[in-house]
Structure formats: structure tokens, C-alpha cells
Subunit: 691 residues, 2 copies
Amino acid sequence: MKRFFEASSVAVIGVSPSPTNLGRAIVYNLVQFRFPGIVYPVGPKGGAFMGHKIYKSVLEIPDPVDLAVILTPALTIPEVLRQCGEKGINRAVVESSGFSEFADERKSLEEEILEVAKKYNIRFVGPNGIGLINLENGLSVPFMPFEFEYPLGKVAILAQSGGIGACMLNALAFENIGFSKFVSMGNKLNVSENDLLEYLLREDKSTETIFIYLEGIADGRRLMELASRSEKPIIIYKSNYTRASSGIAKSHSASLSSDKRVVDAAFKQVGVFKAESIRESVDLIKAFELRPMDGNRLAVISRSGGHAVVAADAASHYGFELVPFPQSLIRLVEEHSRAGVIRPQNPLDLGDLFELDLYKEILDMTLEREDVDGVCFIHNYQGVFESEQSRELAREIGPLMQKHGKPLAFCLFTSNKEMAINRKACSVPIFGDPWEAIRALHVMHNFSKRKVAPFVADFKSGIGTPRALKLVSDYSPKKRGMQLPPELCFQILASYGIKTAEWCVSESPEEIVSAAEKFGYPVVLKTASRDVVHKSEAGGVMLNIGDKIALLEAVADIQSRFGPKVLIQKQVIGGIEVFVGSSRDENFGPTMLFGLGGIFVELFQDISRRIAPLSPRVAMEMIDETRAGKLLKGFRSQEEADIEACVDMMVRLSYLVCDLGQLSEVDLNPVKIATGQEKGAIVVDCRMLWA
Amino acid sequence: MKRFFEASSVAVIGVSPSPTNLGRAIVYNLVQFRFPGIVYPVGPKGGAFMGHKIYKSVLEIPDPVDLAVILTPALTIPEVLRQCGEKGINRAVVESSGFSEFADERKSLEEEILEVAKKYNIRFVGPNGIGLINLENGLSVPFMPFEFEYPLGKVAILAQSGGIGACMLNALAFENIGFSKFVSMGNKLNVSENDLLEYLLREDKSTETIFIYLEGIADGRRLMELASRSEKPIIIYKSNYTRASSGIAKSHSASLSSDKRVVDAAFKQVGVFKAESIRESVDLIKAFELRPMDGNRLAVISRSGGHAVVAADAASHYGFELVPFPQSLIRLVEEHSRAGVIRPQNPLDLGDLFELDLYKEILDMTLEREDVDGVCFIHNYQGVFESEQSRELAREIGPLMQKHGKPLAFCLFTSNKEMAINRKACSVPIFGDPWEAIRALHVMHNFSKRKVAPFVADFKSGIGTPRALKLVSDYSPKKRGMQLPPELCFQILASYGIKTAEWCVSESPEEIVSAAEKFGYPVVLKTASRDVVHKSEAGGVMLNIGDKIALLEAVADIQSRFGPKVLIQKQVIGGIEVFVGSSRDENFGPTMLFGLGGIFVELFQDISRRIAPLSPRVAMEMIDETRAGKLLKGFRSQEEADIEACVDMMVRLSYLVCDLGQLSEVDLNPVKIATGQEKGAIVVDCRMLWA
């Protein structure tokens, strides 16, 4: 990827002397952003632009070329790329549109391009993007002209939409936040977010924060693997979750929509910071301009009482501890305040202190304290008086943060004229709402606490695989989406060490009775017919069968209604019912679910999700996220359940679904988790679907 | 209140020629904002300021004065106010601080001021605020100097914090949104938000939207009554909910914190739009600069595909229907697009249409359509080209909305230089994120649907009052917060027509048995000792007593452990268990609660709230808000419950708690709502606390 960003000679293919030609803007941008390398415009009509000769083909260029930027009609791309290959160019940015986002028939054109690229060993960005910018060397190749007004910084922007990418650049410039690299990824036919992410994480020293806007996900598991090993913060805004957006996203970037719940779970699992809107994207990027916050002890210093009240609500909301200010500082402040009394509380209200040069000293003293992990400072002035002193104060914020290595979130309220001046003067972002500032500190506290185990994209446990594969390979479903027969489900579970209620499948009443005598009454009888999907609803389940006579009656009844094959199980008494499940996602492969069993799963939607495989720690997180978890821990003087057994079962099932790709869905529901002195977790009922 | 805002002569009390004197800023502001009336500076030292003579006392002013603005030390206020009274001034703005927000001992000073005000019939704003502004006549009396840069508009701002008030003025000016009136209410000792609200709603024709920032609530029920009858949108940002904020709010505006859940419920009940931060306050005010949206059919027109995708997600999230564009429009667009193909879908992506003058026509045609209730238009340009055309387009947005009377939410993405120019040029707000724009449309759709029944602050039903009052007056609790004995609870409920499970309280086993024979077995036996608070947890409840022998055993057991008085009840079989309750709030009086019964109330916190009295419609809303409601309606093929009976009981209990102010808490838990063919709602257990 490096060679995309460090090219020192660029061929811009698709330039003509016509004033409506868009390729000219690419040349214009390179000049505007002061690209120090050589630019070769290329276009079949020849001519000249901005003093450059327009070559009729890349093959005519006399010198070697590092990068080709291509903006010619879609149908010409295979030939143009071929010429690049012949010329020895093996990095390209294809900005043309008219591919699969335009019409499904263009899929073959995409395949043709991929073949050419493969033959000549070409990697290319796009098609259907607006290009890329490396602000460090002025390599700026979008086909829309940009003003060169962006500060250089540490944020990389990868966007699957040129429009959103550009609006992020403008939004960051407004906040005086610089960027390092920008890539409009378009259809991601050859270079994906994962390729770029890998480069930014491992090779690009000038990038410290990565923001990605996605409409579709190239390979969710690889993304997770990369993110789980990243020490740089990754912020992703993923759109395109709904039926309404799927149409427009397909015709915009040829992206397929995804299940938001799964994407959210995956991001959480590997410590990706998720944005839900453009504004929230900017908020998160602003947060990462602060320092990590190592503890949760916060000091709030405000010149306005009202903003202090708001900040205190926000601090409580985000779980910060507001540590008291020391007497020495209170005394200092009191001595200089007009009415002579400052309340010794946190938030500290400096409304009565008119000597603004003291503010810096107070901030310095507060950041110095060992019992303070971060500071929120709120200043306001109306802008008719106090402007010079206030601007001076704003300039000190960045250096103070630098000096102490702790986050200092700065809110400023003043006239709009003053605001604009301060935004340029202040080297760190200015927040416009105490909630925003304190949320940013919360993000930086979470970032500091972030501990993510490496996620393995290609995981195979192998625990029960040979036996399970044998079981599965003997099974030939009539069609995709079929349910596996219960006895097969139970055997597969057993091969992964997952305990089920003792069971027996048979057509013979005698065998059923002898199984019951072996298990002990009460027992449960179910139809084992593979044609009945919702057994309970259909009346195919009978509980609490207490003796032989009742059992024989039940067998006769179920057999007469659903056919001869029945399943008998020991009835599990006591315990808390939970639900452990898995389903396969197109972007992320096997996912895991956990929640309360029975009707409440659906009524309360109290379900947590992660991507398989699970570590015990991640399984525990899943339990902790739900109300079911509270119940397992002994809610309201109830007995605690064997959570360890529950975790163990979840981990085992996650291995199972990684190993057996043929299973599209597994529901263990209910699972009974023993409570009190009893130990263990037992699957009572199970459903598996064939992919 | 009118006389505060329409004063034509103002005495500014507390002016001195000293350069650090804050009173001078008040005179400065009146001049700066071009107040056309007469200004009389007053200060004991005399002298002159800005060409005005400084009178030594108001009594020296030769002419009558409409309004006094006072900024003198707190302890002087009674005398200053007395002089105002003698002078015949009966409207004042007290900007001084140093009252109960400063020290509890200053409560008596406040009382003294109130007495003076009463004697002279003076109404005053404050103390401890920064003053008020009427932008229409330039009456601007804050003691901090303001630049006169605010556009005149239709939004009134009432703020209990000068700092937050001023920051709202700046934030609105940034968005080019004008305001009409501004009041910094301070401690609200005499004039409360309710007084001002009443004026703004009933008398002030120039105000169309009201924004209020509150740290404490003066009289929640009066606020609700006013809001429930308002046709103007009221947006309230209430802070100060937490232990962390209560200290600072007390010393800032002498406000007590409140229960957020109750405030939220009250606002929802009367159609107040709630903001949770400064940013959200601005967002909501921006929304009300649009038109009401009468239906939910939305058209999204975007120049950027990415923003269209984001807008589609947002539209789905807020439940908008994206209606297809007609062929005629698609054809028009196709004819003019560069590549010749625009997808006929909503959102409509105009990325390929470079003739910007057509955009206005497309918007006009779309707003004209009968099947479109509102439009979100997203434009972007980078600002090097297309600036003139784009600014022209921005200027057209306001007139287009005006012409069609439908909301047109306009998002713009461009360079920051262009953004600033367009903000000034465009007469309606510009949104910076499709989510923001579509949320604003959602707000305007809700506003259009808003139907609120008038709320009665002083409600007395009188249904069961004489009998209930008699019952209660016979009861003499040992102390506040005592539980009423169960038989009294059941009798009070009965007097309001609320059904309870048949019961009998006695000390005699024979009487208990004969009651049981009357009710029929099974029965429940409970201790009726008033000393046992949590009967179940203490083992004071025995269920499922099936016959006389078991009953006698149970009676003996309970009597031996808890004393002779026991309660027997018929055991109610079947039905769904819910919880109906009430508690008294300091700001809002009796509140009502509803949720699922049993352990799940607490595990899932699935509780809805409103302020009593309830209409059947509001009770139904409470049920609908909870998962318990889903269960009552027959979740997952279960039988439907008698929701009407549940509503009836909720309404009756809400009347009861309005009538009987002595009850601080009432819990009916569980209440059994009959299902299927069975009808009715029966209270099984009940707890009432004495206030």
C-alpha cells in the first residue's frame, strides 16, 4: 500500500484540454497541494494543460511512472490498465464509475479488470471513488478541485463515499484537526479497507487515529483480526443497515447491507469505536485528539455555574468520580475572587474570579494532582471584554495537556467571531457542550482501559471435529435450511462436551418405557418427526410424565398425531433457563447469542451477541450485558447459578460452529443452569439448521 | 409580564463612574441595542456615564419610570426595592447575587424582599440572573456587554443560568436563527418560568417557539397545565438530576435537583419537547424553524450517494415512508444527467446531474406532490467551482418551504468558507448531518400529530373522597412514612371502586376458617402485623392453602411468629400479574407507575410513568410503553387480557391519589388482570405509605 502514498511520479489518465474535463481537476489538485513529484497528463487527444504536455498514452511517457490515476469511461478501463501494466506501472487509482454499482451486467467488466490486474501484478484503488490524498507529500488526486486549506495531522480518513469523505475533511478542518491520508475507496474491487488498514496500522508512522466510513464490509473477520491487534484507535461509521438504504447503497458503491446487531457486536468485541452519524464521527475523532485517561477521577472547572451543573450531570452519567479540590487551591482562588467566596466543590465554579491569568495556574495545579486523571475546563466570555486574555488562555490548553500527559477537555462559549479566532489559535479541539467534552473524556477513559484479545479469523478448534464431521457427513438434508433430527443434534453437542438432558429416540413404546425407568420419572416426551418445526406450538411436547401408565398413553397419543418416532428425555428440575445460540452472518461468519430462556427472550429482546470463537472472558461479557446475567448472579436474594458451566457451554458451542461450517443456525433453548449447591449446565432442547 | 418587556423608561440602579462597575454594561447594552426609551442611571456616588447623569436615588428621577434594573449588593436590595415602590415603579429586574444560592442564612433576606415587593405590588425577575432582552425594542439589560449581532426572530429563550442563556443566543446566531425575548431567570424568587411562559403563550404574538433551560422546577403541575394548553412548541432542557449536580446547582441558582424519570414523564404527558444537552436544545430549536410535517411520506434528494445512504438509514429509523418518484421527474432528470441514467428510487441521487439550476425545479415539483409530506435535500460542492449557483440554490430553500407550507430540511456540505456564506444567505437553518435533518423532520411530524388533553393542576375527583377521608382521618400513624394496615388499604381501594381479592382480617382462627369457607379454597394467609414491612421475605405469607386443616396449622404458625392479627384472602388463579403504583413527587405531586408484576419489574425496570390524574388514553399509553403491555395484548399466541379493566383501575387509583394527599406511596402489586373469557382486574396485595 505504501507505494500508493509515496509515489513520486503520477500519470493522470483521462485529461483533455476541454474545460468540462474532470481529469484536469486531478492535475490541478496535485499542483494546488504542492506535490513535489512529476505529473504526466495522459489523454488520446493530446494537447497541453497547465504547461504540461498531454501524452496520448502512458506508453509514450519517456520515464518510469509510480502511480496511474485513471478517469476514463468504464468500458476503456481494461485496455488502459493493460497499457499501465505494459508500461510497468503497478499501482493505480481508478476513479471512473459505471461498474457493478451501475448495472449487474457490469460484473463481467469488473472480472476482466481483475484479470488484467492479476496478470500485471497491479493493485488498484476503486473504481468509483474520488481518489486519494497524502497530505504529507501533496499527492492529491481527487477529480473535484479542493482548496488547499487542510491542516496536516494524525488522522487517516478511509471512506467508501467521496461525498462523505470530503465532508469529513471539511468538518475536521472546521475543528482545526489535521489529517494525514485520505482514501475514497469506492467499490473496493481490488484494494479493501482491510488492505489500507493493515498499512495504516503497521507501516504508516504518521497516522495515529483511523476513521473509516463503510457502506459494505469486505471481510468482517479479517477486519476484526486487524482491529483486535491494533494499538491505534479505529473509528468506524458503518451505514446501510436498512431496506431503505440497501437500494441506494447498491447503486452508489455496489455494497450489500448488513445486520447492524452483528456489526455492533463485532466492533465491540475487538475494541473498534463505533460512530452512528457524521456528527458522532467528528465527535469521536475530536475525542482522540485528547490524551488517554487512565482513571475515572475527574475535575471540572467552570466559569459559568450553569455549565458546571450540566457538566456534573454528564460526569455522573458517564460514571466519573468528582474528586474534591484541595484546600490550598480553594484558598488561592478565594483570595482572588471578587466576593471572596468560592465554594470548595467539584465542579469548581470560578464565576467570581475575574483574574483570567490565574486560570492557567489553576489548571496547571489541577492537572498536576495525582488524584486527578483528567480535567474538563469550561470558559466563557461574551467577547466585548476579556478577548485578549481569553485567547491567550485558549492557546495554553494544548501545551498544558502536553505537559501533564492527561486529557484536558476544553469547552468554550463566546461570540461566534471570537469562537472562530480561538478555533484557529487552540491546538486542541474546542467542545461546544459540556456533554460532548465529558463524553470525549469517557471515550479516552475507555480507550485507556481497552483490552482486547487477538481475534483469529480462521479459527478451527478441532475439539470434536472428526466425530462431528462424520455425524454431519452421514446426514443428507432434503434441502438447505432443513432442521437436523434431534438425535443428531444431541450427538453433535456431545462430541463437543456439551451436556444434554438424558435422552432416547425410538419408535418402540417398550424401549421408551425402559429408557424412562433408567432416567427416572418425571420424563418429557416429544415427537421426533423432522417435519414438525415448532413442536411445542403444535402440541408435540408433553411434560411432567410421572409414571409408566401416563407415559404409554402419551406415546400412543404423540405417535398417533405425528408419526412413530418419539424422543424421551429426563425432565430437568430446577435451575435458571437461558438461551445459547448461534447464527451465521454473511460478513462475519458464525455469531453467538445469549439471553434469558423461554418467552422472555422475545418479550424483552434481552440478547447479547459476539462473533465466534469466544474466549471465556468474552462469553462472560455476553452474560454480563444481559438481565439474564443478573438473574444468574442471584438477583433479589435468589440463589446464584453455576455461571462457569454456562460460560463453558458457550465457549464449546462457539468452537463447534467455527468447526462445522455447514450449520447455519443453532439454538440451545432452554439450557438449564443449576443454582445453589447444584452444578452444571444442561441443554434441554436444541435446534440446528443446515446451511 | 408584558410591562417587563414593553417598558419605555428604565432606571439602572447600581451605576458608578468607576471603570470596573458592572452596572455600566447595562447602560451600554441599552445604547448598543438601540433602546428607543429613556435610561436613568442611578448610583449613590452620582456623576455621569455615556452622557447620562447618574441619579443618587430613584426618588430623584423627575419623571415616571416603568422598570428598575438593580445591580447593588444583596443586602441593599430591600431598601432599593422600597425606594422603587415609593417611586411608583412596580417592575424590577434584580441582577445581584448573594441570596439563598450563596448561603442558607440569606433565606430571610429573600423573605424580606418578597415582603417589600408584596407591599408595593412589585413583580421582579431574579435575583441572581444576568437580566433580560427584548430584541424587538432593544430593551437589553444584561450586566455583561453584548455585541449587537443577533437577528430578530420568533424564538424566546428563558434560562435559569445566564451563562447557558448567553451561549444559546450565540449558538442560535451561529445558525442564523433569530430570537424575540431572552430572560435570565436566576433564583426565580418572584417571577417563575410559569409566569413568563403564560405571557409568552397568551400575550406575546412575536414569539412562536419557546425554549427554557431549568435547574429547578417552580411548580411542575402549573407548568404542565400551561404546556398542555399550548399551541406553541415548548422545548425544555432540564439539568440537575444527580447527586453530583445538586451541590453546584444549589450554589448556582438555589435549585433543588429532581427525579429525571418523573420530569421526563411529565413533559411527555403534556407534549413538551425535551432536550438533554445544549446541542440537542439547538437541534430542537432548528427543527421548529421548519414547517409541521402532516404525514410521514418523505422524499430524499441528494447530490451525494453516500449522504443518500445515510439519509435512508435515518429515514427508516424514524419510521418515514420513502415514496417513489414519479416517472415524469425521473425522465426530466435523466435527460439532463451526464451519463444519462438516474436510478428511479427514493433517495434520489442527483450526483450525475451537473445543471444546478434544475435542482430548484426538482425541489419545487417534489414539494408540490400530494403524496409527499416533507423533503430532505442534501447538496454538496467543494467550493472551488459552483459557488455562485449553490449560494443561489441555498437562498431558494426558505421561499420554497414558504410556498408549499411543507418542511424542507436542507443539508449542505461544502468548504467552511462557503458554509459561513450560505448560513447567512439561507433564511432557514442548514443541517450538517442527514441524521440531524431527518430527526428535525421527525420532530415536526410529532409536533403535527401532537394531541394533548388539558392537564388540570388542582384536580379533585371526589369519587370516593368522603368515605376515604373518614377512613384515613381515623388512622393515626406513629410517624411519617408508616404503612397503613392492610384492611384500611383495602377499604380505601373499595371506596374508589377498585376490586381486591376477597379478604378478612381477624385474630380468631374460627372467623378465619369461616371466611375461607365463604371464599372457597385455596386461600392465602398473611400476617397483618403493621410492623412487618416485607411480608414475603420475612416468611409472613403462605400460599395455596387447600383445606381447613392446613389453614388452622398456618394460622397457628403465622400467629406464633408475627402476632395474632392475620389476613386471609381468596387465592386468585390465573391472569397476568402487573404492578400499578403511585408515588408523590416534590415538583409534580402524585405520579403513577405501571409495569409487569413480580420479580421482573425490578429485573427489567420495565416501568412507565405519568402524572396523576390519568385519562383512560394516558393510562393506555402507559400500558403501551411497556413490555407488560405486549404481554397483556396476547404475546406469542397467549390469551389477551382485560386491558380495559386494567385501564379503569389505573384511572381510579390516579383519582384516589389526587384526592388523598396524605398518601405518599401506593403499590398495588400484584394486580391480576384476567385473560381470555375471564374479565376484570383484581388487587392481590397492596401497600400504602403515610406522607
